[in-house]
């Protein structure tokens, strides 16, 4: 539902027909991927669905261009929430009973994370808006962040038997 809502929001807010179609297709694809992933218990479907929605947004940014889009922090928080909720759904399909109060704690944590994502996104946009001219510095920052993300993957997926 959240994936559909995100795609619908992006499609309806678009002025260009191509962007509208791209977001609609991305929304349907994301919904199908999530439904299939949750049914077949395939976690790989979650990032693919988020990627599809993000790609739809990327198309709208590329086609429509213009000034900085202020919807980005809200969209970032929504996509992050979508991923967390999808992973939670996958966890709930395991036959492990939670103790009373666990759901409330989880909802609280997810709300805090979504609000945090919103705040971080807004902060980033504010920084970008203030600096405006990122140029080479922005590219260097992006490249560094990409390398750092890959390094984190390599570190985290390494097993440590004891």
């Amino acid at each position: 539902m959240l994936a559909g809502a995100i795609a619908g929001w992006l499609a309806l807010a678009a002025d260009d027909e191509l962007v509208r179609w791209a977001n609609a297709v991305a929304g349907v694809l994301a919904c199908v991927l999530l439904a299939a992933g949750l049914t077949l218990r395939r976690p790989v479907a979650v990032p693919l669905a988020v990627l599809a929605l993000g790609a739809g947004y990327g198309v709208s940014l590329g086609v429509e261009g213009g000034a900085i889009d202020t919807r980005a922090p809200a969209l970032a928080a929504a996509l992050f929430l979508l991923a967390e909720l999808a992973y939670w759904s996958l966890e709930l399909r395991e036959a492990v009973a939670d103790e009373p109060g666990a759901y409330l704690r989880r909802v609280g944590l997810l709300s805090a994370l979504a609000l945090g994502a919103l705040a971080v996104g807004a902060g980033l946009l504010a920084v970008v808006d203030a600096g405006e001219r990122g140029g080479v510095a922005l590219e260097a920052l992006g490249a560094f962040a990409a390398v750092a993300a890959l390094a984190i993957v390599a570190l985290a997926t390494r097993r440590q038997p004891r």
């Binding site: 976690p43 790989v44 979650v46 990032p47 988020v50 990627l51 993000g54 947004y57 990327g58 940014l61 590329g62 900085i68 889009d69 980005a72 922090p73 969209l75 970032a76 928080a77 996509l79 992050f80 991923a83 992973y87 966890e91 036959a95 492990v96 009973a97 939670d98 103790e99 666990a102 704690r105 944590l109 994370l113 945090g116 994502a117 971080v120 996104g121 980033l124 946009l125 970008v128 990122g134 922005l138 590219e139 992006g142 490249a143 962040a145 990409a146 993300a149 890959l150 984190i152 993957v153 570190l155 985290a156 997926t157 097993r159 440590q160 038997p161 004891r162």
Partner: protein
């Protein structure tokens, strides 16, 4: 503990990386904003994740239980550091099932916290069970890393077959010299009136029947039957079994053998067990509660062991089969070796009763005409086998899921009454 990364780690890292690359390619900072929550959650989650130090113990409220009983199980978990989500699972063996409480369950532990997870196991099937295979999985706050461990806290639980209600047992032909609850055929000191006879020197005055003496003008004394115990051997055939789904003839046989042995022991009779199969096991006759536990414990170990070797009663130790003992054979009559061994026992003069655990409900006739004919022939062969035993004066009664053991033994008693009258 074994550390594993959740699928989130790779996914969030990939999303963050792709978002940043997209931002570079399109020169749009909005895509950096999109990837920021994923990158941040990943960084914070991995930075804050700490391996938990867990202590765990397993407590089962008793070591012995009866079928259909419920056993309380407690898992005590302690942790020095907080654990956001700890998944606990006790691997429950087949034959036991969780009746109350949750297994597996997820709990949260605080710093220096100690929690007890309690649940109840229902004993569905008799057996000798080993509990203690525990699976632990601790997750960090962001669900990015999991630590898994399989501590072994081995505890044994013996589940005994639930004894059926039996009001009357099969009366043996001969009794033993020791005091018991069975009225002996011989005359002596006892309660049951047997006969009258003339007084002889040495007779006790209290045994004089004054009314009979008055009528006959001479001293007449009462003779009585003494109460004696008996020797009962439960002969369990473990050469072969018929199985369908979760039930088998061996399950029924062990249940029946346990009930019969327990009831005879309650009457202060001496009971022994011979498990005659691929593996020969025996328990010399004894009496009392200790013998009851010995017998049931030995029955729990019963299993069909495949063996081609020909075996007859000569391999059974002599002291296991005392003379004049009542031998109650619990058998599906499937293996020629046990069939001939029982015939041999009868030929040696043992008082024999056959409780047949019918394998017929476990073997459905096939679909083809040939299969159906084979099934009919098999049934006829079994009928002929029963007739052979009956012609030798051996009562054969069929026991199954739909027949109470009480009814089976009543059939045996009825046959033995009839057989005795016929001989007279």
């Amino acid at each position: 503990m074994t550390r594993t990364a959740s699928p989130r780690v790779a996914a969030y890292a990939a999303l963050a990386a792709l978002g940043l690359l997209g931002a570079l390619a399109l020169r749009r900072p909005e895509l950096v904003v999109l990837s920021a929550p994923f990158a941040l959650a990943l960084t914070l989650g991995l930075r804050l994740a700490r391996e938990p130090r867990l202590g765990i113990s397993l407590t089962v409220d008793r070591e012995r239980a009866l079928e259909r009983d419920e056993v309380a199980v407690e898992l005590d978990v302690s942790s020095e550091a907080p654990v956001e989500r700890l998944e606990l699972m006790l691997v429950v063996p087949d034959g036991l099932e969780v009746s109350e409480g949750e297994n597996p369950v997820a709990i949260r532990l605080g710093r220096d916290d100690d929690r007890t997870v309690a649940f109840t196991l229902r004993c569905v099937h008799w057996g000798n069970y080993t509990l203690g295979d525990i699976r632990l999985r601790a997750r960090d706050r962001f669900g990015l890393v999991a630590w898994e461990r399989r501590p072994d806290r081995t505890t044994h639980l013996r589940v005994y077959p639930h004894p059926d209600a039996l009001r009357r047992l099969v009366t043996p032909v001969a009794t033993q010299p020791f005091t018991g609850n069975e009225v002996a055929r011989q005359k002596g000191e006892g309660l049951e009136f047997a006969d009258l006879r003339t007084f002889a020197p040495g007779d006790r005055v209290r045994s004089i029947n004054w009314r009979a003496s008055a009528r006959r003008n001479e001293l007449i004394v009462n003779e009585r039957h003494p109460e004696r115990n008996t020797d009962v051997i439960v002969f369990l055939d473990t050469f072969a079994e018929a199985r369908l789904g979760g039930r088998s003839t061996l399950d029924l046989a062990v249940g029946a053998a346990s009930t019969i042995a327990s009831r005879y022991l309650e009457r202060r009779d001496r009971v022994g067990v011979v498990s005659f199969g691929g593996l020969l096991r025996w328990l010399v006759p004894g009496t009392g509660l200790a013998q009851r536990y010995r017998i049931v414990d030995s029955l729990l170990e019963t299993a069909v062991v495949f063996n081609y070797a020909w075996k007859d009663v000569s391999i059974i130790p002599a002291r296991t089969l005392p003379p004049q003992a009542l031998v109650i054979a619990v058998t599906p009559l499937l293996d020629e070796r046990s069939v001939s061994a029982l015939l041999d026992l009868r030929a040696r003069g043992y008082d024999l009763v056959v409780v047949e655990i019918s394998p017929v409900p476990f073997a459905k006739p096939g679909r083809s005409e040939l299969d159906r004919v084979a099934h009919r022939l098999w049934l006829l062969h079994r009928q002929e086998l029963r007739s052979r035993y009956e012609s030798l004066g051996v009562a054969v009664a069929t026991y199954g899921d739909d027949v109470a053991l009480e009814a089976v033994l009543e059939g045996v008693r009825s046959f033995r009454r009839h057989a005795r009258r016929a001989r007279a």
